[in-house]
Every structure is written in structure tokens, then in C-alpha cells.
């Protein structure tokens, strides 16, 4: 009987309890991780150039606020690849192939932008969708191999990063419509293929970021509210139980990888289809046989966002903010390479601290609980005695 009473009492407070718990384990530890990362990054800057470290660090931490448009623009692709990695991770798949999917998506978008002749207002939408299809295709392949032949998706998607990158560079160089060999970059895209600008002067920020944030919110709803999300998470947590419950594990693996690929592909499309501040120009791609860094940054973004789509939106903005601020530090004499190192350190330190969040959270919870129980113990005399003896014995140690 007593149990039942407890249960109703708990139920009344449960909402508060859960809210407190959730806040703690994700948001607080993310903030803590970021703080640790920043401190560590500052030490590296101090080591590299002690005199200007403070000024440089101020740029990294606050410089982004003066270039908010760019922060949002550069956040778009890593937000998409972050969502891609995070979404696959919810199902227990490690999509390290975000780079290849991103590059493929970018190429499909370029192709649609150059080769298709469509009216204004429709052309860019078609190009974005083409990018999505490109990424989807590149996500489908590792998913297919994983589901049907049980080939580890990490290996396949690493290989397809290279295959995708070399194919795209080959195709780009081979097309005289796309490629301009004198500047060794792609030509300017027609105006109609560019995503409409948000109208902030001096910045490329466009509707891409709005769409990306919207997609993040939709993913959150899919994961939390739908049967597909329920199956996906169940499979990620315990694939044996998912099989036992009759979920179609293989189909779900393929669908998840296709969605993850589509997200990365959209990232590539959003990046390349951005409008340029200078009329008559556009973003260009230089085929130099390098794997797109935005794909790997997506892993850090997803880690820092704890694979939660809403968290990923914020972590992408944060990392973009650091990167934009970082570019300003050469004003006080930091070489761009050092800044890349510092930012990488902040990002990865934060991300790794995030992985440790369980340990850190536990530590802080313990501290809080200790003070709580002290208060409780003060109120009852009987317990005070045991408490005192405990303290004594601790002091004796």
C-alpha cells in the first residue's frame, strides 16, 4: 500500500524531476564542456603568442557577434552534416561518410544549377533537391551493405568518402560548362540557381539556414513523436529487442542511412548554392582532391549536441561562431594555422568533455546531493549523531 502512495506522490512531481534531470545531463554538461574547451584553447593561445593571447582570445570568444550573418551562413553546412551524423547515431550507426555525402550533394546541386534551365524561383529549389538526392544515394550504399551483407558502415563510408571526392573532382574537371580551367575552379552559377539571400549586407547568409533549422526541428519531432523515431531509437538502444518486437531492422538501417545521406547532401547544396554578396558571381568549388572538412566537423557538432537535433542546431551555431571569430585573430598577429589548431582544440576538447559528461555530471550531482542530505540531517537529531561520527572518522583518516 505504501508503495502506491509513494507512486502518486512521485507522479505529481515527476514533470519537475524530469525537467531538472534532462537539463542537467545535456545542457549543463554541454556548457561545462564548452567552458573547459575554451579554457584549454586559451592556454594554447597563451603558449603560441603570450603577449596577444588575451586580445586574440577576445576575438575568438566575441568576434563572431560582429559578423552574425556569416556565423549563420557558415553554420548551415555543419548543421546539416551534424544532423546527419547525429541522426544515424540515434540508431547506433556511425556515419563517418558525411563528407562524401556532402560532396556528392554539392556536385548534384552544381549539376542541376548549371545543366538545368529552369525559371527563377524554381531552379534553386530543384538544385537543392538534386543535392539531397545526391547525398541520399551516397548514404544508401553503406546502408545497403550494412543491412544486407553486415559490412561495417564505418569502413564502407570511409571508402565512399574517397570514391565520392575523386568522382566529383573528375566529373567537375571533365565538364567545360562547370569548370573554368584558368582559375581552376567552377564557373559562377546562374543567379536563378542561387538560394535567395536573407538581405544582410556584407554576408552570404540565405534561406539555407532557415531551412536547416527547420529540418532540425522536424527531425526532433520525427525522433520524439513518430513510430519511425520510436523504432529507430529502439534499434539504436537494443537491436535484439527491436528484432524481437518485429521491427524491420534491415529496412530501417537503409532508410536511416538514406536520410542521413540526404541531410549531408543538403548541407553541400546549401553551401554551394549560397548567393554571393558581389552581383554576377557565386560560390565556387575547387577540385583539389581534399575530403570536405565540413563532413568531419559534423561529427564534432553532433557530439557536442549530444546527437539531439535541437542541441545540434545550437552546437553548429557555436562552432561557426568560434570559427568566424577565429578569422579575426590575425588582426593581432595569429597565423591562420594556429587559429585552426586552437579552434580544433576547443571543438574537440568540448566534444570529448561532452562524452565524459556522465562522469562530470555524476560528480556534480554527488556534490549537490551531499549538501542536500546535510540539510536533511541537520533537522533530525538522531541522524546528526551518525553524521557526526561519520565526520569524525573521516577526519581521523
Amino acid at each position: 500500500m505504501q508503495d502506491k502512495n509513494d507512486f502518486t506522490r512521485n507522479k505529481r512531481f515527476s514533470f519537475k524531476q524530469i525537467a531538472a534531470k534532462l537539463n542537467f545531463s545535456s545542457l549543463t554538461s554541454a556548457l561545462l564542456a564548452i567552458l573547459l574547451g575554451l579554457i584549454f584553447g586559451f592556454f594554447v593561445m597563451l603558449f603560441a603568442m603570450p603577449a596577444n593571447a588575451l586580445a586574440g582570445f577576445r576575438y575568438i570568444a566575441f568576434g563572431g557577434f560582429s559578423r552574425l550573418g556569416d556565423v549563420f551562413y557558415f553554420a548551415t553546412p555543419i548543421l546539416m552534416t551534424g544532423l546527419s551524423v547525429g541522426f544515424a547515431f540515434k540508431m547506433g550507426l556511425f556515419n563517418i561518410g558525411a563528407s562524401g555525402q556532402y560532396t556528392m550533394g554539392m556536385f548534384f546541386a552544381l549539376y542541376a544549377g548549371f545543366m538545368w534551365d529552369l525559371p527563377n524561383g524554381i531552379h534553386w529549389i530543384a538544385a537543392v533537391l538534386a543535392g539531397m538526392v545526391g547525398g541520399m544515394l551516397w548514404g544508401f550504399i553503406p546502408g545497403f551493405f550494412k543491412a544486407l551483407l553486415n559490412v561495417n558502415e564505418v569502413i564502407t563510408s570511409i571508402m565512399f568518402n574517397y570514391i565520392g571526392m575523386y568522382l566529383v573532382d573528375m566529373w567537375v574537371r571533365g565538364s567545360s560548362t562547370m569548370y573554368n580551367s584558368t582559375i581552376t575552379r567552377t564557373n559562377y552559377l546562374p543567379q536563378s540557381a542561387q538560394i535567395p539571400s536573407l538581405g544582410i549586407t556584407g554576408s552570404n547568409v540565405n534561406y539555407g539556414i532557415v531551412l536547416a533549422i527547420l529540418i532540425g526541428i522536424i527531425l526532433h519531432i520525427v525522433l520524439q513523436k513518430t513510430t519511425f523515431g520510436y523504432e529507430l531509437k529502439a534499434t539504436g538502444y537494443n537491436k535484439h529487442a527491436a528484432e524481437y518486437a518485429g521491427m524491420k531492422g534491415k529496412t530501417n538501417i537503409i532508410i536511416t542511412m538514406m536520410i542521413a545521406g540526404a541531410l549531408s547532401g543538403l548541407g553541400g547544396a546549401f553551401m554551394i548554392l549560397a548567393p554571393s554578396g558581389i552581383p554576377g558571381s557565386s560560390m565556387t568549388y575547387e577540385p583539389v582532391n581534399i575530403i570536405a572538412a565540413n563532413g568531419f566537423n559534423g561529427i564534432a557538432v553532433a557530439l557536442l549536441g549530444n546527437s539531439n537535433p535541437i542541441g545540434i542546431i545550437f552546437s553548429a551555431l557555436f562552432i561557426s561562431h568560434l570559427q568566424r571569430g577565429g578569422t579575426l585573430t590575425n588582426l593581432v598577429g595569429y597565423k591562420p594555422e594556429i587559429i585552426d589548431v586552437v579552434i580544433a582544440i576547443i571543438i574537440y576538447f568540448s566534444a570529448f568533455a561532452m562524452i565524459m559528461n556522465a562522469a562530470i555530471g555524476e560528480f556534480i550531482k554527488k556534490r549537490i546531493k551531499k549538501t542536500d542530505s546535510d540539510i536533511i540531517e541537520d533537522t533530525t537529531e538522531e541522524l546528526n549523531v551518525t553524521d557526526a561520527s561519520n565526520n569524525n572518522s573521516k577526519e581521523a583518516e
Binding site: K11, F228, Y230, L383
Partner: protein, 515 residues
């Protein structure tokens, strides 16, 4: 005053939402076997974890030989001579037996492991206590019984004198159990002190000197086993009288629900079939029990019926429909409910909330889903209904994370889900494994009620008591074949044992082939 080797005095341990140990005192004498008895979630494991240094108590103290000691981690416990055999073994699966035993205390010279001395010491111990092992076998290849002997040797190798056994018999066959109990006796005669966590009353009566009973985190009392009875112990543990007999009416078998014909299922561990050309029928309104020693093809047979494994030959019919090649989901819709053998691996998504687990088989039905969106209101309502109806207890009701629930309540959740789902056949594999008498009584009652409601029940069990008491018919499996179709009212336990060990078999095969 008597001399105690270990005293745990007024131990209190609080977890969020629950007091796991409330002011518990336990005193262990040197050279005794002290049983610790309680239902699931009574706080036995928590108390032992406190002693072994895995948890820090919120109140109370531990004394060894009268002196207060602080046990901050298992290493401290080991230094004090406390060793533990966990319910789920802590062994490195890909290491050999010898490597596992010396792990952490490897004898070494200049950084090189001296395995030769270690091997001699291990073999000597193994011989002395009759704990048969092969030091070079790899853990994942050996039987559960041998793995347990490795765990015991680990404690002996470390020269522990206080041995904690956490439900050691849950995974053993009847023969292995009697061997283990004898080993424990030998330890005690030699002056080692043993704490024996269990909820099997027979074992306590057979081997223990004293018994401490916990109920819902509180101490009920400590009694001398020779002055008490099974009935009294179970009353102390559960707080009411428990019947060991399963009450049930005469069976009224109806139509054939499940019909298995010449079924063969390949084995995962060897090249031969694990199930060989098996045929049988189960009718509505009867409980058919597959008896046999673990590893004689029961798991594979159930896998083929529920769809987790593929048959290599033969047919399976449910209500006359051929389901041999149907998907798991299809079989579930057609009316198979399945209480799986391993509730953590198959039965639950441990990181999901209780309510999410309760709809694991039904989340896609229109009742809980519309246009791909889960109706969480309906899920919550349904979960509360099941929680009430099946008395599932948890810290926070429907939103409790399944992982944080006690084993018995996890099992109740699975049973609630599977029984409440529309079904004609209930497949229950070891549904009472690791449960206490109160929960076992509950599970048996549910099985009988399911039968009385006109469903067919296929029960797989290794517990002879369960086989004899619950079932209406017994099919004995030996080496992948059914060697006996017995009536529990007519067969004796001894006879059943002969069938299970392959010493006796009926001439059923021809009959089945004809049918």
C-alpha cells in the same frame, strides 16, 4: 559476546525515490554459511554491493573482526579478504581461464608474466576443492557452470576468506547445483565464511547455518536455519503465506493451436542441427512444458516458433495457417505472444521508459498510432492500466526508465505486455528465472489464468518443480529430439530425470512421423 568476522551495522543506502537499505544489521560468523534471503528489490544486492565497495553507505558502518573498516572500492574489499561471485559473471570472454583467474594479480618478474607458477597454484586449488576446469580453455567456449567455477577460483587464488555468492544457482543445472552446494560446505568446514544470496528456500534449508531475511529494504530478522521451516522463511520474506502448490482446475483441451511437423533448426555453435525432426501439437487450454537440460535445443525450437531463428526443415502451423516463413511481426499479429528467455537482451529496451516498453509489440496499432505519430496520451493511459492490473512497481510509474527497475518488475512488465496483447499461443521461456517465490507464484498464476482463458501455453523450463507443478503435459527434449511425452500426474521426478539425461526414451518418433 560471540566473535564475528564481518559486521554490517545499521547500514542505510538511499537511491533517488527509494530507500534500498534501511538501517540493516548483518553479522557474519567465521566458518558459517549465512544466507541472505529476500524478494527482488528487497535490497540484498545493494547490501552486498556496499560490502564489496561498489556503493558507499549513506549511514552505518562495517567492521571486520570488531574494527571499523572503510571499503571504498572492490580493491579495498579484496585487501580485506572479501571476494564475490556476481550473478552476471565478470569474465573477459576472449581470455583463457588461467588469464581470467590471475587478471589483476598477475605474478610477474621484470614486467613479464610468470604464468607457470600461477598455473601450478590454480591447478592445486582446482584439485583441492574439486573445481574442475581447463586452464587453457577460452571463457566464451566453456559452459556457464565452468565459468562459475572460474569465478570461484578467482576468489580462492586471491586467498579471500569471506566469499559472497550472488544468486549462484540461478544459471546452473540440478547436478551443478548440488556440486556447488557441496563445494560451499567444504569452504565453510575449512573456516571460510560465506554469504549466500538466494531466494531458493530449498538451497537455504540444505546448506545454510543462519539466514537473514530482508523485505522492502528493511531487516525482518536473522534466524537459525535448523530451527525454522521453509514456510516460515517464505512468510518472513513475502510477508504473507505463499503456496508452493500451483492451484489449477482440470485442463479442458480444445482445438489444436500450434502444430509443429518434422521441424529441424540449425545450430549456431556446431554443424549439426540443434533441433532434429521434431513434431508435436499444442491445444488451446493446456500448458505444455518443454523440459530438458539447458542446451538440448530448447532455445532453437522456441526461436523457430517465434521467428527469431530460421528453420532448416519442417513446417509450423498456427491455427492451421502455415507460419514457417512468416516474419516475426506477422506471427505476432497471428497470435503468438512471447516471454523471452533473456529479458534484457530481447524483452526490453532498457533505456526506454516503462510505458514505451509496454507498447513494444503494439505501438504500430491504430490504438496507439495515427498517421505515423504515436499517441502518447493513449500510451500513458494504457501503461497505467497495465501497471494497475499487473501490479508493476517502479520508482516513477510509467515514466520510469526500465533499466532502473528490479528484475521481478521488469519481468512483470514483459508478462503484462505479452498477456494483454491479443494472442492464442503464449510462449514462455524460463519465465521465473531469477525471480523470488512471491513473483514465481505470481507468474505461475498468470500462466494458469492464460490457460483457463482458453489459450495455449508453451512453457520452457529447467526447474523440475515448475515442470511438475505447472504443466499439463511434458515434452522432454534431449539432444534436439523429443524423447518423451509425459503426464505430470503419472510421472515421477526421478523418471523425468532419466528422460532428461537421455537414459530413457519413448517410441514417439514413429508416431509423430505418421501424424
Amino acid at each position: 559476546m560471540e566473535k564475528y568476522i564481518i559486521e554490517m551495522i545499521n547500514i542505510t543506502k538511499v537511491f533517488p525515490g527509494i530507500v534500498a537499505n534501511d538501517n540493516i544489521t548483518l553479522r557474519l560468523k567465521k566458518g558459517e554459511i549465512h544466507a541472505l534471503l529476500g524478494e527482488n528489490g528487497a535490497g540484498k544486492s545493494t547490501l552486498m554491493s556496499v560490502l564489496f565497495g561498489l556503493y558507499q553507505p549513506d549511514g552505518g558502518e562495517i567492521r571486520k573482526n570488531g574494527e571499523v573498516v572503510h571499503i571504498n572500492n572492490p580493491n579495498d574489499a579484496n585487501d580485506l579478504g572479501i571476494g564475490m561471485v556476481h550473478q552476471h559473471f565478470k569474465l573477459v570472454e576472449i581470455f583463457t581461464v588461467l588469464d581470467n583467474i590471475i587478471l589483476g594479480v598477475e605474478p610477474s618478474k621484470m614486467g613479464f608474466i610468470q604464468k607457470k607458477e600461477a598455473r601450478e597454484k590454480v591447478l592445486k586449488l582446482s584439485e583441492k576443492y574439486g573445481l574442475k576446469i581447463d586452464p587453457d580453455a577460452v571463457i566464451e567456449d566453456i559452459t556457464v557452470g565452468m565459468q562459475q567455477r572460474v569465478e570461484i577460483l578467482k576468489m580462492l587464488y586471491r586467498e579471500n576468506e569471506i566469499l559472497i555468492f550472488d544468486e549462484p544457482t540461478a544459471v546452473l543445472t540440478p547436478q551443478e547445483i548440488s556440486e556447488l552446494l557441496q563445494t560451499m560446505r567444504n569452504f565453510a568446514n575449512e573456516g571460510k565464511s560465506i554469504l549466500f544470496i538466494t531466494h531458493k528456500l530449498n538451497e537455504i534449508m540444505a546448506v545454510a547455518d543462519r539466514c537473514t531475511v530482508l523485505r522492502k529494504g528493511k531487516l525482518v530478522g536473522t534466524v537459525d536455519v535448523k530451527d525454522t521451516t521453509k514456510e516460515e522463511l517464505s512468510r518472513m520474506m513475502v510477508g504473507r503465506d505463499v503456496s508452493f502448490r500451483v492451484e489449477k482446475k482440470e485442463k479442458k483441451p480444445g482445438e489444436v493451436v500450434l502444430s509443429v511437423r518434422n521441424l529441424s533448426v540449425p545450430s549456431k555453435t556446431h554443424k549439426k542441427d540443434a533441433v532434429k525432426n521434431v513434431s508435436f501439437d499444442i491445444r488451446s487450454g493446456e500448458i505444455v512444458c518443454i523440459a530438458g537440460i539447458d542446451g538440448n535445443g530448447q532455445t532453437e525450437l522456441v526461436g523457430a516458433i517465434t521467428g527469431l531463428e530460421k528453420a532448416s526443415g519442417g513446417r509450423i502451423f498456427l491455427n492451421g495457417k502455415d507460419i514457417t516463413k512468416a516474419t516475426i511481426r506477422k506471427r505476432s499479429i497471428e497470435g503468438i505472444s512471447h516471454i523471452p528467455e533473456d529479458r534484457h537482451k530481447h524483452g526490453l529496451v532498457l533505456d526506454y521508459k516503462l510505458e514505451e516498453n509496454l507498447v513494444l509489440q503494439r505501438y504500430w496499432q491504430p490504438e496507439f498510432q495515427s498517421k505515423g505519430f504515436i499517441k502518447f496520451d493513449a500510451v500513458r493511459k494504457y501503461a497505467n492500466k497495465l501497471i494497475d492490473k499487473f501490479d508493476i512497481r517502479s520508482g516513477q510509474g510509467p515514466i520510469t526508465i526500465a533499466r532502473s527497475m528490479s528484475g521481478g518488475n521488469q519481468q512483470k512488465a514483459i508478462i503484462a505486455r505479452e498477456i494483454d496483447k491479443k494472442h492464442d499461443l503464449l510462449v514462455a521461456v524460463q519465465p521465473t528465472r531469477g525471480l523470488d517465490v512471491g513473483a514465481i507464484e505470481y507468474v505461475h498464476k498468470q500462466l494458469v489464468e492464460t490457460r483457463d482463458a482458453g489459450k495455449a501455453v508453451l512453457l520452457v523450463s529447467f526447474e523440475l518443480d515448475e515442470v511438475m507443478n505447472v504443466s499439463d503435459r511434458i515434452l522432454v527434449m534431449y539432444e534436439g529430439e523429443i524423447v518423451g511425452d509425459l503426464d505430470p500426474k503419472k510421472v515421477t521426478v526421478q523418471e523425468l530425470g532419466l528422460y532428461m539425461s537421455g537414459a530413457k526414451r519413448d517410441q514417439l518418433k514413429e508416431i509423430n512421423d505418421a501424424g
